[in-house]
Amino acid sequence: MFDIQTQLFEGRDIRFGPIDYEKDPQIESKWTHDSDFMRLYGIDPARPMSPAMVKKKYEKLEKEIEESKNIFYFTIRAREDDRLIGKAVVSRIEWSNGNGWIELGIGSADDRRKGYGTQALQLLLRFAFVELNLYRVTARVQEYNEAAIALLKKFGFTEEVRRRQALERDSRRWDLLVFGLLKDEWAKQAQA
């Protein structure tokens, strides 16, 4: 179904690319000043970062990628102007088990609800299953992150675990959900 000529990094309106040390720190710095985004993307305390701090983070990340051999990191770029719009990651890969954790973020609110996330997840899953040859992928989502949950469900992910009240935000406790998708399940819907 996918042959060797298939361009793994090309979507309809977006493409996967490397980090651009000149332009990206400025943009990602802006995202980190949006606490809504930070609280959807992760569970660490939200924290603004300067462009210089973001640059340092990229350097650390690329070193970790080289050393650990279990992280695959893409920037998501708009095809029209190669502008940075998000990131897509497979990390914590356990090679002997064929499992990896995925993360996806569209940084600016202006770029959300345009189908970029859907296209990026399509590329990321194809990469995870036909290039990394994983048996399954896993995603962690906060119960309040409705957009992410809807996106995962659209791709056939199953809610496998509900870690009750594992997260505290705004003085209340929230569940953390774990979703999984097996290669077989993906292959069926990718063909359809």
């Binding site: 356990e94 088990n97 048996y135 496998e160 675990v161 870690r163 009750r164 594992a166 774990v178 097996l182």
Partner: protein, 189 residues
Amino acid sequence: MRDLFRGDLVRLTAEDPETRAKIEVHWQRDSEYRRFLDAEAVMVVSEKWLKDWFEKRDEEGFGPHRYVFSVRTLAEDKLIGFFALWVDLVHSEAWVGIGIGEREFWGKGCGTDAMRLCLRYAFTELNVQRVSLGLMDYNPRALRSYEKAGFRLEGRTRGDVQRAGRHHDSLWMGILRAEWLGLDAAAVE
């Protein structure tokens, strides 16, 4: 106040790196034991490497993110296992890893007794809101032990562990502070 370090069958101790490395080198040669502990491919390392590792760990200190205990039997004062708590201070959650390395002590209640001490420590000394752990579906003894200690099964990630030519599920368990307080009403005296 309750003695936090003494259960019905076991007590909690700190051991020298030498003692810990010597016994670990013996436990790690039991691949069945090692396959229960986590999902990574099992490996053996030298006693020297282990001693350096335990020394470094001790230097890093006790808490605020990691709390490690050794487990000895009350009857013979024999070193049989360990447990560790990793704490997420922001979200007030602790993860546990536990292992009884001396396999002749499996199924005799020692691990469950240690887990009860672990929960009391997590909820009354570290004051976390939640304690979590993971295990594999090929370890029914552990599942039963954790249920006895009060954990609830919160789900399973399908086929994310591959061992012995098959895919197995990881099981995810958790216990909330309110649930534990209900179980162990005497604990708050």
